[in-house]
């Protein structure tokens, strides 16, 4: 409230909201996604927000690293049959846009109904203690089965629902690119051993290695020294994208 602001910042619900905002502002189509252009503007906005303590900052940063990753993938020649690295982001944006439009429709309905119609609290009537509803004993059996074997009533969710969970490994490579770049910006040089020893899990180590290789190929970092004393250093004049 007492934030000394000379300009008004728009409030973004999240990284997808911000991306859609940028796409609209640049009069682009969701299908295009010129990642390089968006990344630059995206980072500029996030940087602005960082000063005023943005909620969900980590999610905004995660998206930044994902954009960074896509950008780096786009610079490489794509093998035949290989997916466009933008596909996943594109479908996320499309899904989100769809629900946002549905939300607008709901809002319109809410203005006409929920906001204008009121319900009444329950009338005070003869007080009595809560009573337990009678239940069929079969409910016990099905509850018991549900515990041991997985319920029959609950149908498994479509695979699509797990899309995000399953692709998190991809995201984590990108986040490693981002994390590594940031650490190097602060420290300039890091012993390679230390880099891997700090990783909590095997998946992290793999992701970290892939991130390192990615940065090496993009000529962002270089390796100095040899053997056990190998060090990772920021390439001279290199900016972490």
């Amino acid at each position: 409230m007492d934030q000394p602001m000379t300009y008004t910042l728009e409030v973004f619900e999240g990284p997808l909201d911000l991306l859609l905002h940028l796409i609209e502002r640049n009069k682009l189509e969701v299908a295009d996604i010129p990642v390089a252009l968006l990344l630059e503007q995206y980072l500029a906005v996030v940087e602005q927000y960082r000063e005023i303590d943005l909620d969900n900052l980590s999610e905004f940063l995660l998206m930044a690293s994902q954009l960074l990753y896509i950008k780096s993938k786009l610079l490489l020649p794509r093998e035949e049959g290989e997916e466009d690295p933008r596909d996943e982001l594109r479908s996320m944006l499309e899904d989100y846009l769809r629900y946002r439009e549905l939300a607008d429709e709901l809002e319109r309905r809410f203005e006409q109904n929920g906001r204008r119609s009121f319900v009444k609290p329950r009338e005070d009537f003869a007080e009595s203690r809560p009573v337990l509803k009678p239940h069929s004993p079969d409910k016990l059996l099905s509850a018991y089965r549900a515990v041991f074997t997985g319920s029959l009533r609950r149908t498994p969710p479509p695979i699509a629902h797990f899309k995000g969970i399953l692709t998190h490994s991809t995201v984590s490579v990108a986040s490693k690119v981002f994390a590594l770049s940031r650490r190097l910006l602060e420290r300039r040089r890091l012993p390679m051993r230390q880099l891997f020893l700090a990783q909590p899990s095997r998946a992290d180590i793999v992701a970290c290695l892939m991130a390192l290789l990615e940065l090496l190929r993009l000529d962002r970092v270089q390796l100095l020294g040899e053997g056990d004393d190998l060090e990772v250093a920021l390439q001279k004049g290199g900016r972490p994208a």
Binding site: E13, G14, P15, L16, D17, N56, E59, M63, M92, E94, D95, Y96, L97, R98, Y99, R100, E101, L102, A103, D104, E105, L106, E107, R109, F110, Q112, N113, G114, R115, R116, S117, F118, V119, K120, P121, R122, E123, F125, A146, G150, S151, R154, P156, P157, H161, K163, G164, I165
Partner: protein, 204 residues
């Protein structure tokens, strides 16, 4: 009527009785109005039928007949059907003067985030927090908590997946707030070509 005092025979006579406003239909409507008024919240058809000691199919026929007439009188109270439940609410046409009297706290307001979560849930229920987060790209647990408190969302048991996450669905209050009698009345959406369907819906 051989047993004029038996509720069953009495109500049964209503079906034959085509004329509205005759004593039996009026008596039925008075009873339903009293029940719905006192309850405040939505009351299920099954509960109404059992309280009135009548068959559900008959009860439903009479309720739907009542629904139509009740709302046609354009009074201060309207009757709504929400799935298998019925509820009375104040007439939206009177919103201005009701607001002038009502405590501000009773007014529900919904943020864009809340509307997004409701839209995603309505079309995919039951959904987990992780699913909402996946679609929106941000943590949504605060929004979910506030929608649970507003009784627009409810818990729907745990998903059979690692961590057994809680699943959420929309409530009868959700239907009422958005002027729907059932989820089938939601604007139609296809899988991918969704937006087109949506636009067509708005145009008509």
């Amino acid at each position: 009527m051989t047993q004029p005092d038996s509720p069953g025979a009495q109500w049964q006579a209503l079906l034959q009785d085509a004329g509205r406003g005759h004593p039996p239909q009026a008596r039925f409507e008075a009873a339903v109005e009293a029940i719905l008024f006192a309850a405040g919240e939505p009351v299920e058809l099954a509960v109404l039928a059992s309280a009135l000691e009548m068959e559900q199919t008959l009860c439903k026929t009479l309720l739907d007949r009542m629904l139509f007439g009740y709302n046609q009188r354009e009074g201060g109270i309207v009757m709504r059907r929400l799935d298998d439940s019925y509820q009375l609410c104040s007439n939206p046409a009177q919103a201005a003067c009701v607001r002038a009297v009502l405590d501000r706290k009773r007014e529900v307001s919904l943020s864009p985030a809340a509307l997004e979560v409701l839209a995603i849930t309505a079309y995919n229920q039951p959904v987990t927090r992780a699913f909402l987060e996946q679609v929106r790209g941000v943590d949504s647990s605060g929004v979910v908590a506030s929608l649970l408190e507003k009784e627009l969302l409810e818990e729907r048991g745990r998903l059979d997946a690692p961590g057994r996450p809680m699943q959420f669905g929309t409530t009868a209050a959700f239907l009422r707030c958005f002027g729907l009698s059932s989820l089938e009345e939601l604007p139609p959406v296809d899988e991918r070509g969704a937006l087109i369907a949506q636009l067509e819906f708005q145009e008509t």
